[in-house]
Amino acid sequence: MALSDYADIQVSFEAQTVSRAGFGTLLFITEDTTESSGVVNGPYASLSEVENDYATGTEPYAFAQEAFAQGEGFSSLKIGHKDATNDTWTDIIASIINESDADWYALAVETRTAADIELVAAEAQARGKLYIAVTADAAVLDDQDDTDIASTLLSNSYSRTAVLYKSDGDSTYPEGAWFGRMLPEDPGAANWAYKSLSGVATDSFTSAERGALRDKRANYYENVAGNPITYGGYTSEAGKFLDIIRGVDWLQTRMQEDYIAVQTGQDRLPYVGGGEIIESEVVRRRLDIAVDQGVIAEGYEVDVPGYRDQDPTDRSARSYPGITFNATYVGAINTVGISGVVSP
């Protein structure tokens, strides 16, 4: 079921509907053979719950260990299964969403192969999920190379995929740690950059390598002035950052839910005067919450056409189009320029 069939609310780009709990839920898809293809286990709220289903030497356990190592907040991990021989990554994501479980938002996968990552990124983009792809390919560090996975995803403007370069990424799951650290945060209210991850080793880079990573919008984890930090919260679309994507997805999904709550909470939503009800209960109310939550800035604008201004065709179809708003992201600072002069 898609809420968009009932409330066509678009906030810059489309998100697949997930429940309130699902917005903080992470799905890890593995080729582990504990379960058959398409099975999704969880949600798991702790590593000990995962341990009941997966042995300590398995990939799901290793992933969960990193995700749950980030503190008390993260509490919703699902583990999906792919058949290593018979399933493509495209097929298994579609199968899980259509047949097993679509109520999750964040996506991580076991594969580190560039071709697989491309397939997963395309699915994440089409299905409104948020995917962190990890690569250990040193070509990402080469500013002359434009065929590496970060460059490829950037050329596709995948706003729902973030590339994380980790030199040991072939044998670790730093994306589990990053998701585990950030998913408990209110959507849109926290920068994914400048975060320390427990149990994750830092890399070190030359200035040229760091420049290449930034140019390709690949994220990385290094030690800066004694602080291990993630940088820079990029997605693989210019100008789009992880906090903004998640914040806008949250806003859109909650507005759709609010609309359904209004519809189900009364005998009917009248056409005459209904625009004002939607303006009050759905749009302005949710935007005020978004302001309080630090997703958007104060001073948003809302425009609701009167029922007399609606096209007769829309009125007869019981459709009320044309409700719009403009808001500004609160955003975040990643770099700063400070200059000064000290004179004798």
Binding site: V262, G265, Q266, P270, G273, E276, I277, E279, S280, E281, R284, R285, D288, I289, G306
Partner: protein
Amino acid sequence: MGAGVYTYAAESVRIIVGGVPISGLADGTFVSVSRDEQAYNKTTGADGTTSRSRTGNRAGTIAITLQQTSPSNDVLSGFMLADEAADQGVVPVLIKDTSGRTLHYASAAWVQQKPDEEFGKEVSDREWTLDCARIDSFVGGNTSQTGSS
């Protein structure tokens, strides 16, 4: 100078409380909106220098006056009782003149107290006062019916 006729229509003022349209309004003034505090406080010194300080307080009250027969009394009573029973009476309030550009919106409002009641031979009014944590307001004019020349 334009030659338009600017029309206000009381029935075009929509009042929505907690998603419910309010009806059965009193004759005369049926809604009023006021802020608790002025936007700036002014201080003028002995030498005539004037300073101002921004209060930042946008809290206020909305008074809605209904006929005693209005079904919206039941709606507001319901919000009041929900608040008294379980603090569940905080709701959004929208007041919008759909024949013009005036709009007041409070995302968190609640019934301050129940209206004073009186019963007589004639239908009397019930004035509900809603407290608002913050009221965003735009006081606009009305729409020209004939346009400008």
